[in-house]
């Protein structure tokens, strides 16, 4: 296809079709069906190749979006892949699970629907895997420097990949039984099939990165010794402490953190033997507290378990269906987002405050007591007389994470944290010599794409640090 600068005038936005909701809830497989190649090219052609590509600005990684769109339009997939992989180590992840701030800032979005950037990104990387362009490319020269990366989530993997590319010898330590962090156990398979993660890990391993699982630094491996043996250490432990809802009745059985629920499910699908108390929504009335993406993942998983009902409640106001005036283009829009999980069946409620957990006599959860709230600016007040009791058998708390785990690697190395209990840094460098930090551990809970960006940036800083040390 030849690049047509007027294509955006003629072609409408079109995303790939999804499998029918009733069908897809029966399994944990990918919900999108493939889009024909010509359609993808056509969609890429809608890109206007702007003088100021706001998408590229909106993307935390700074993906060269107009460049790969052009290559896709012209059918130069390998070029597109090279362009994409310049800024993004794992497009197969972001191409699936990113909320795509790029699309919100797409210039076409001023008065039209934006370009399907995320799907194009996914198509490029899948094409690249298919054609065998993604192959191990170990560095030609090893520097002899050793770097330990603690944590194998997106930030850790990105840092590892970049440092390895620079020729350093990298080992990634993961306390869980498999590599991947949240990618592995936080995100349900229907959004990110784990073969996609494994496929990447194989490449990375073949490029020379060593992975160690069951390695909890500061707990079962001496942190100081490891640091001594390394030329640098990058902490990418994530922000893993979930936010609690400490109200009356919290001790009731059947109230779980979303991540516990999701992790167990992921392990189950991965074929692990589940030794903990099994968490299932099957035949249950489920309430998910928290209206974010994790909440949606809980909704989707619950439906797949076979819940009888799923209710998702959110304290904030229901956003408008289209971009709110307070968040004009190119800002991240305040706007109602309906995920695929919601399509699969869910009662969504807004401006609901949970007042109390009500127990059954056996101590199990019976219902939650809620009240409607009224928002005035940043503050809300309860609206008298709007109390409602929602019956339930399973409550999932999906209201975010507060901070990284402080004991363990942070405490044993003496890494300083700030008032939010996040790791304090100066250009990704902590107060401890040689120790760097990236990802949620530093910035607090955030998107995968930000984790990648942080991992890359931290690797860059390690490189600078090495150069300085070398020059004396």
């Amino acid at each position: 296809m030849i690049n047509d600068p007027k294509a955006f005038l003629k072609i409408a936005r079109e995303t790939p079709p999804r499998r029918a909701a009733e069908e897809r809830v029966k399994d944990y497989q990918e919900i999108y069906l493939p889009q024909p190649i010509d359609k993808i090219k056509e969609q890429a052609n809608r890109c206007m190749d702007c003088g100021v590509p706001f998408c590229h600005n909106g993307c935390p990684l700074g993906n060269l979006i107009p460049d790969f769109n052009e290559a896709v339009t012209e059918g130069k997939w390998e070029d597109a892949y090279l362009t994409l992989s310049k800024t993004n180590n794992f497009p197969e992840f972001t191409g699936r699970i990113c909320p795509a701030p790029c699309e919100s800032s797409c210039v076409l979005g001023i008065n039209e629907s934006p370009v399907t950037i995320e799907h194009i990104e996914k198509s490029i990387i899948e094409m690249a895997f298919e054609k065998g362009w993604v192959r191990p490319e170990p560095p030609t020269l090893r520097t002899g420097r050793k770097v330990a990366v603690v944590g194998s989530g997106p930030a850790g993997l990105a840092a590892a990949a970049q440092l390895n590319k620079a020729g350093h010898t990298v080992t990634v330590y993961e306390r869980n039984d498999r590599i991947g962090g949240l990618l592995r156990y936080g995100i349900p398979d229907f959004k990110l099939e784990k073969t996609v993660v494994d496929r990447r890990l194989n490449i990375m391993e073949a490029e020379g990165i060593k992975f160690k699982t069951g390695a909890n630094i500061g707990v079962n491996i001496d942190a100081k010794k490891l640091l001594q043996a390394s030329d640098a250490m990058v902490l990418c432990g994530g922000s893993t402490i979930p936010r609690d809802l400490p109200i009356k009745g919290r001790s009731a059985k059947g109230i779980h953190y979303a991540m516990d629920f999701l992790e167990q499910n992921n392990k189950r699908i991965a074929g692990n033997e589940i030794t903990d108390e099994p968490l299932s929504a099957k035949g249950k009335k489920v309430v998910v507290i928290g209206g974010g993406d994790t909440g949606a993942d809980c909704v989707g998983t619950s439906n797949r378990h076979g819940a009888t009902s799923v209710t998702q409640i959110e304290l904030l106001i229901q956003p408008p269906a289209t971009r709110d005036e307070s968040t004009p283009w190119p800002l991240w829009p305040m706007q109602l987002r309906t995920s695929s999980s919601h399509e699969e069946g869910c009662d969504r409620q807004w401006t609901i405050l949970t007042k109390e957990f009500l127990k059954n006599p056996d101590g199990s959860i019976k219902a939650i007591k809620t009240v409607k709230v009224d928002w005035k600016g940043q503050k809300f007040t309860e609206i008298p007389g709007t109390e409602v009791i929602i019956e339930c058998d399973l409550v999932l708390l999906a209201i975010g994470f507060t901070n990284p785990q402080l004991e363990g690697v942070l405490s044993s190395l003496g890494v300083a944290t700030n008032e939010r209990n996040l790791v304090e840094d100066n250009k990704y460098q902590t107060n401890v010599e040689k120790v760097f930090v990236a990802g949620d551990m530093r910035r607090g809970q955030s998107l995968v794409v930000w984790a990648l960006a942080e991992g890359r940036e931290a690797a860059e800083q390690v490189e600078t640090y090495f150069k300085k040390a070398w020059r004396g």
Partner: protein, 1516 residues
């Protein structure tokens, strides 16, 4: 004798300012009278002086009306007069030819005068002469202005006789040696006499009287000239219009041989080349000792004209004939002329290796006392008219009618044609035609044989099997990285060049940091800004006037300029300067008796130690010198050997260094420079190399890159790699021509070494070593800094683990990128600005302004490095209100066509509401917008632009202006024209532009009525006549010397001057121009203010500035640097919704601004309120600064540069090396010298003829009554009918009056612009003749012109109107009984006219109307003619040779055409009584068959389509 550098040491206070005296320009009126019978009369001298005073309007005066720019006269020695005068001293003069007379300017200071005289007397004796006497020349300075008097010399004549009798030629040469020797020595002994001791002439046969005078003062100042026995058969005159007013008596003209009207654009290169020739000069006529006394022949203390005269004089006295020498210096355009006789081509081909053309507009009158004549440059850009009387008196002048002559006595009237020479020989008592004189010169020696024997072409050299190296992808990327290629360079520069075969196009202005402010390593060429022609000389159109352009280059030795032997034919001829691998290898391994090549490695140790690069350059220069001394006549500078440990020396740096080193050593002329380098891929890279002296270039890396791109299928699959490279070379050639032409330079040879760049951010050490003579005003990086940038790329290239293809840097110049170059308009600032304006949100504005203003760590502009000193703060309430400030705003000139109606009219409404001025741009304006809307809103643009295309410029359009802006240049593409493709010209745009919908429009690079400063004065005069109330604003673009031009413009009576920055926006321009041409407004504005104050002209003009102005801080700095008004364009568009797509040229603007697509236009959402919010923010912001600095009004603030200083805490290493003090220089001036506009210009229109014309026409104007009257007219009556037309437009709109309402008959010689912007209802008949710009901008009037009733010459064979008639005319009729000069009906879009013969470039860019030509047509007819029709007589069936067929078809006439033609011929006969028309009509059947029709192809197709549609609809 040691030669000193002739740069004048008189810079004193100008040392620190931006004013560069060397850039002063001048231009003028010239003329001569010669009685070819040799009758010496006093009347002839008097006539010449009268003629001079009648061209006063072509000269100018400074701040004082009684100080002229210079005037003078050259005559034969008035022997009888001198005998008489000296007899009063009891001295007997020898016979004529036995003595020489020197006219001497002595210093006024008596002591100094005596000192000079003592030395001079010694030299007279030393050189074998005897002093006869000194004669004090009587002078009368009563009427002179103070500044002229202040620098007035003491003038004497010296009479000397040779100690032994000499042959006349020998005598003249000896006098020449004496003059040169005396001047050199006296200036050396007493340097303060540099401008004071001067010898205007020293000859046995001619003498020059001149001075810092007005034309009227000349005769009065020199009573000698009025003496009855002061007689001469030759008088040559000159009236000067200089941009400067710093008086210099010596710069007045004539010089010893010539009087020059025009400008030598290539002067810097000519001087450099001359210097390199001087060391090789060997003469038969001058001894070695004499030669040493003569040198330097020319230099920098003189004007371009002065230098030209020096070289010409030297060539003539060394034995070449005057025409021969002139042909060497100003060759015709011979390269592509198929009609030129072979012998002439051989002559030029032979001489091209000896002398580079002195290129630029030139009308030159010359004489050596025996031969007289005149010549024009190849483009014929200055007017020159002549006539011969029955008394055998030849009169040549810039204007016809300057000397009233009895029309009955005239036997011949003509004009000089481009490249042609008119010469008369007093000995032979006759005019010798161009052809005859040139044939004699050309056939004197066997040039043809010499060329055949000695000249070599590339094809003749043997090929080599190993040419062309294949590079694997890894080495390629590695090399690309090393030389700084970015991904954008591949995508935006190299690929499009091959895909489209020309330099890529872009849009919007540049908002990235200057090279010296960028944190990204820069290509050295980025520090060099292309200069461009502006006002004092015109740019050329390299496409439509390709015939005058040439890319020829040569390799080899140039030899002794003074010899006439075959050796000069010994050179390798190159069709163009870019060598492919095959050709390069031929040269590299050349094995030839006459040519020897040698290589110099351009490498330095890449270990980051200081001094490495400079040491390498020293070595490179020494090696090159060594090679040159060992007869290597082709030196190859190559960076091939750069590698992991050695970095490449930037080829530009090395080439400049070697070029200047060899000049210094006197070796440059003996060798040629060939560069083989990896850092050459953009047109600008090639241009800089050639501009600094390189002969040929092999850009190997770009060829390897093209191989790779081709392998990747970036180009069409049918294209081979070889073809791709050929296209690339062609594209570079076209790009180079464009760069040359924007300077008004036609040939590569004269561009070569001409150094037409300004360095920005390069320190003095580097400039002096490598780019000597280049203007560089704010210091900047040095050798170590340049090395640092190279090494940073080198590190990247040789870093381990480089991944092929993936790792080229992003670039980010054309498209904002996170890791790319910084942009001031980036996602954040665009968003905040839009938010602020749309929501009237002060906080967002402040956040935006902070991001823009805070340039401490990343500076983008020079003003970003400045900050304010502490003033005496006042409460903000005391500052003048916002409303006052808003009136000072203008929006940029953007045409309806480049932006949508919605975007355009919203700007207009907003500006009208706040009392500011929006600008129509160059696309005309829909008259509907002249009437306010019912709600009070007004879509009328207060400023109407007049640009080179003159689209829609009618009397009515001009009448509806508060301000008329003459666009001399545009920041994004100074020196270039534009093009609107036919697809974009819809019904609406076509109507508004007075052109045919569907037919493309071309704006020429120059205004064809402005080739020099006095032409601009004329246009200002025309426009002032066209609307007396409108302020005339002249838009200039910043460059070194713009202040000097601004002074000239102020003297040309502009009311306002706009200094635009290089970064202004554009709808479509070559990327090269957007990035590399022009300079920041900070420099241009500061220079203009400084220079205007220096010349005491500042208070006559309003100074305005624009170019990426975004915040109140920008306004405050602009005001302190001298601007009282500001233009905002890009930011205003961003407020309207622009998101800097940079795709304006593609009509796809997704926010409805830069598009005409109705669907896209609907997406436009901005309201006038948004703009008003924004301008109010700006004004409030400025008030804040004013309060802080203590200014109550803007006027008080203008030019208070002392309140600015350099910011503290600047960290970046590059910024620290800058010196901005010249910008912050305050021109000292006492309180009487105004710092802002206070004084109204005197436009000289109080007593114009039109006042009477209007008076007589009252009844017509009021009641449409018919009126008839007769008026005499003379050449000083200019723009006749324009003011009357303005009255018609005011009262009757575009409709005007009914045909023939005002019938006036004029008799005499009309001045320039007769009938300009003539409105409907006028019917003027002119009996006599007219000068240039006849019927310019004609808007509906009817003009006829016939020879004087007494004239005896054949009307159809003589010239009756001048150049550039009907330029930009939109409607009306005209009948001309006689011929016109060059560029007839250029950009005509509606006039119907019949004429009996025209010069070159007829109907260029014509878009409509009808032209009938009953006689000969010149060359290049119909170039760029997209619309309209011409019926041309073609009896000999050879017209096609003169036709430029790019856009037109030549067809026989069909029946309808014939009827059309017949009707026009009948009218022609009716109004002029033309016998030619009558004869054709009488033999209609046969005669009509002699005509051919010329019609735009696009237009023809359109008509055919319409006809078809019509048939369809009638059928349907």
């Amino acid at each position: 004798m040691e030669k000193t550098n002739p740069i004048p040491q008189t810079k004193d206070s100008t040392e620190k300012s931006l004013y560069v005296p060397e850039l002063e320009k001048d231009s003028c009126g010239t003329g001569l009278i010669a009685n070819l019978n040799g009758n010496k009369t006093h009347q002839l001298v008097q006539d010449a002086i009268l003629m001079l005073t009648n061209m006063e309007h072509r000269g100018a005066c400074g701040c004082e009306p009684n100080t002229g720019d210079g005037a003078g006269i050259l005559t034969q020695i008035p022997h009888d007069f001198f005998v008489d005068q000296l007899s009063k001293q009891k001295i007997t003069l020898p016979d004529f030819g036995g003595y020489g007379v020197g006219m001497i300017f002595f210093p006024k200071n008596e002591r100094l005068q005596d000192q000079c005289r003592v030395l001079f007397n010694d030299y007279i004796d030393d050189l074998g002469f005897e002093l006869i006497a000194y004669r004090a020349v009587p002078t009368n300075n009563n009427s002179l202005g103070a500044s002229a008097v202040a620098s007035e010399p003491y003038i004497e004549q010296v009479f000397v006789r040779p100690k032994e009798p000499l042959d006349l030629l020998v005598l003249e040469r000896r006098l020449f040696v004496l003059r040169k020797y005396a001047i050199h020595n006296i200036h050396q002994v007493y340097p303060q006499t540099q401008d004071m001791f001067y010898i205007p002439s020293f000859s046995y046969k001619t003498i020059v009287y001149k001075g810092q005078l007005t034309t009227h003062q000349l005769g009065e100042y020199y009573p000698d000239l009025g003496e009855k026995n002061y007689t001469s058969a030759i008088a040559q005159i000159h009236s000067r219009f200089s941009t400067n007013t710093v008086p210099k008596w010596k710069l007045a003209q004539p010089f010893r041989y010539v009087a020059h009207n025009g400008e030598i654009n290539t002067i810097r290169g000519n001087l450099n080349w001359w210097k390199s020739k001087e060391d090789q000069l060997i003469s038969d006529l001058f001894s070695e000792e004499e030669m040493n006394r003569l040198k330097p022949i020319c230099g920098q203390g003189h004007s371009d004209s002065g230098n030209f005269d020096n070289v010409l004089e030297f060539l003539v006295l060394s034995g070449r004939s005057l025409p021969h020498a002139l042909m060497m210096m100003i060759p015709e355009a011979w390269q592509h002329d198929e009609l030129m006789p072979e012998y002439k081509k051989h002559f030029y081909q032979y001489h091209k290796n000896m002398m580079e053309p002195w290129d630029g507009p030139a009308s030159i009158c010359f004489t050596n006392g025996i031969l007289v004549g005149a010549t024009l440059d190849r483009n014929g850009l200055r007017p020159s008219r002549y006539c011969l009387t029955d008394q055998n008196t030849l009169i040549v002048a810039s204007e016809a009618g300057a000397l009233p002559v009895d029309q009955g006595s005239i036997i011949l009237k003509g004009r000089l044609q481009p490249g042609k020479m008119l010469i008369a020989d007093m000995d032979e008592k006759r005019i010798i035609g161009d052809e005859e004189v040139k044939r004699i010169v050309c056939q004197r020696l066997p040039y043809k044989d010499w060329l055949k024997e000695h000249r070599t072409t590339m094809e003749e050299l043997p090929g080599r099997p190993d040419s062309g190296m294949v590079m694997d992808i890894r080495s390629l990327v590695n090399r690309q990285q090393l030389f700084g290629y970015s991904r954008e360079d591949l995508k935006m520069i190299i690929s499009p060049m091959i895909q489209n075969g020309k330099d890529p196009i872009g849009s919007m202005g540049t908002d990235t940091p200057l090279a010296v402010l960028s944190h990204h390593a820069q290509h050295l060429a980025n520090y060099f800004k292309q200069l461009f022609a502006q006002v004092t000389n015109p740019p050329i159109d390299p496409i439509r006037e390709r015939a005058v352009m040439s890319l020829f280059s040569t390799l080899g030795d140039k030899g002794n300029l003074l010899s006439d032997d075959p050796v000069h034919a010994q050179y390798i001829h190159l069709d163009q300067p870019v060598l492919n691998a095959e050709d390069f290898t031929k040269i590299k391994y050349i094995h030839h008796a006459k040519y020897k090549s040698g290589k110099v490695d351009l490498i330095f140790v890449a270990d980051e130690q200081k001094g490495r690069l400079k040491a390498a350059l020293d070595h490179i220069c020494a090696t090159a010198e060594d090679l040159a001394r060992n007869n290597t006549n082709i030196i190859i500078l190559s960076d091939r050997n750069a590698g992991p440990n050695v970095a490449p020396v930037p080829s530009l740096l090395a080439a400049g260094a070697v070029h200047h080193h060899l000049i210094k050593r006197g070796l440059r002329n003996a060798t040629s420079l060939l560069v083989e380098a990896g850092d050459i891929w953009e047109t600008h890279h090639f241009a800089t190399l050639i501009g600094y002296g390189v002969n040929a270039i092999h850009p190997y890396l770009v060829f390897n890159t093209i191989d790779h791109l081709q392998a990747k299928h970036v180009f069409s699959s049918e294209m081979s790699s070889k073809e791709a490279k050929e296209i690339y070379i062609k594209a570079i050639g076209k790009g180079l021509l464009k760069i040359f032409s924007k300077n008004g330079i036609s040939t590569l040879q004269s561009y070569q070494g001409a150094q037409i760049f300004e360095a920005l951010g390069v320190n003095r050490e580097v400039v002096d070593f490598c780019f000597k003579g280049t203007v560089s005003r704010i210091e900047g990086i040095g050798f170590d800094g340049i090395a640092r940038e190279v090494v940073s790329r080198h590190r990247l290239a040789f870093a381990p683990n480089l991944k092929p293809d993936g790792n080229l840097v992003t670039g980010g110049l054309f498209q904002w990128k996170k890791d790319g170059e910084f942009h001031l308009f980036n996602p954040q600032t665009i968003h905040l600005l839009q938010q602020a304006a749309r929501k009237n949100d002060t906080k967002s504005y402040q956040a935006y302004a902070k991001l823009i203003n805070d340039q401490l760590t990343q500076a983008c502009t020079l003003r970003g490095l400045l900050t304010f000193r502490r003033g005496t703060p006042i409460p903000v309430e005391e500052v003048e209100p916002v409303e006052n400030i808003l009136k000072r705003f203008a929006t940029g000139a953007m045409s309806f066509g480049s932006i949508s109606h919605e975007a355009h009219s919203t700007l207009a409404i907003a500006m009208n509401r706040i009392g500011g001025r929006s600008n129509s741009g160059e696309g005309g304006e829909d008259p509907i917008r002249y009437q306010p809307k019912p709600n009070g809103d007004w879509e009328r643009s207060a400023t109407k632009q007049v640009a080179s295309g003159r689209f829609g410029v009618t009397s009515y359009y001009l009448a509806n202006a508060d301000e008329i802006q003459i666009k001399m240049a545009q920041g994004a593409k100074p020196g270039e024209g534009g093009q609107l493709p036919g697809t974009k010209v819809d019904e609406w745009i076509g109507r508004v532009r007075h052109s045919t919908p569907g037919v493309g429009l071309i704006s020429p690079p120059p205004h064809h009525d402005i080739y020099s400063i006095e032409d601009l004065a004329q246009l200002i005069f025309d426009l002032k006549n066209a609307n007396e109330r409108a302020r005339i604003n002249v838009k200039l673009v910043s460059k070194a010397g713009v202040g000097i031009i601004a002074s000239g413009v102020a003297k040309a009576h502009a009311d306002a001057i706009l200094i635009s920055g290089h970064d202004g926006g554009t709808g479509a321009s070559p990327i090269t121009s957007i990035r590399h041409a022009g300079l920041p407004w900070e420099l241009g504005l500061a220079e203009s203010h400084q220079t205007l104050v220096k010349n005491k002209l500042r208070d006559r003009v309003t100074l305005q500035t624009d170019g990426q102005i975004r915040t109140g801080r920008d306004l405050a700095i602009a005001t302190l640097l001298g601007a009282e008004e500001w233009g905002v364009a890009t930011a205003a568009l961003v407020v309207e919704g622009c998101i800097m797509m940079r795709k304006c040229h593609m009509n796809t603007c997704p926010v409805g601004i830069a598009t005409q697509n109705p669907d896209l236009r609907k997406k436009f959402t901005a309201k006038p309120e948004h703009l008003i919010n924004f301008f109010t923010f700006l004004a409030e912001d400025l008030r804040g600064y004013m309060a802080q600095l203590g200014f109550r009004t803007v006027n008080e603030m203008v030019g208070k540069v002392e309140l600015l200083k350099l910011k503290k805490g600047i960290q970046h290493w590059k910024y620290k090396e800058l010196d901005l003090s010249p910008i912050l220089y305050k021109e000292p001036a006492d309180i009487t010298v105004g710092q802002y506009k206070k004084v109204e210009q005197d436009h000289g229109i109080k007593h114009v003829l039109d006042r009477r014309l209007i008076e007589y026409a009252q009844a017509s104007l009021e009641d449409k009554q018919e009126v008839n009257a007769v008026f005499p007219i003379k050449n000083t009556d200019r723009a006749v009918g324009t003011m009357l037309s303005h009255q018609i437009s005011l009262l009757h709109g575009s409709e005007g009056l009914p045909e023939d309402t005002i019938k006036y008959h004029f008799r005499g010689s009309a001045g320039q612009s007769f009938g300009a912007f003539g409105a409907p209802g006028l019917a003027f008949t002119l009996e006599g003749e007219a000068n240039d710009y006849f019927g310019k901008g004609l808007s509906g009037a009817k003009l006829s012109i016939i020879p004087d009733r007494k004239a005896k010459f054949e009307a159809s064979e003589n010239i009756i109107i001048g150049n550039v008639a009907f330029y930009g005319a939109t409607s009306g009729e005209a009948y001309i009984r006689g011929r016109a000069g060059e560029r007839f009906a250029v950009r005509n879009s509606g006039v119907k006219t019949v004429i009996e013969g025209i010069g070159d470039h007829g109907c260029e860019y014509m878009t409509g109307g009808k032209v009938v030509i009953l006689g000969p047509t010149g060359k290049n007819f119909a170039a760029g003619m997209s619309g309209g029709v011409a019926y041309v007589i073609d009896r000999e069936n050879n017209f096609h040779k003169n036709l430029n067929r790019e856009l037109v078809d030549l067809d026989p006439l069909n029946a309808a055409d014939k009827e059309d033609l017949r009707y026009l011929l009948r009218r022609h006969f009716l109004f002029t009584g033309s016998d030619v028309a009558l004869e054709i009509l009488n033999n209609w059947k046969e005669a009509s068959g002699n005509f051919k029709r010329v019609m735009g192809r696009e237009y023809k197709a359109l008509l055919a389509r319409k006809k078809k549609e019509l048939v369809k609809t009638t059928k349907g």
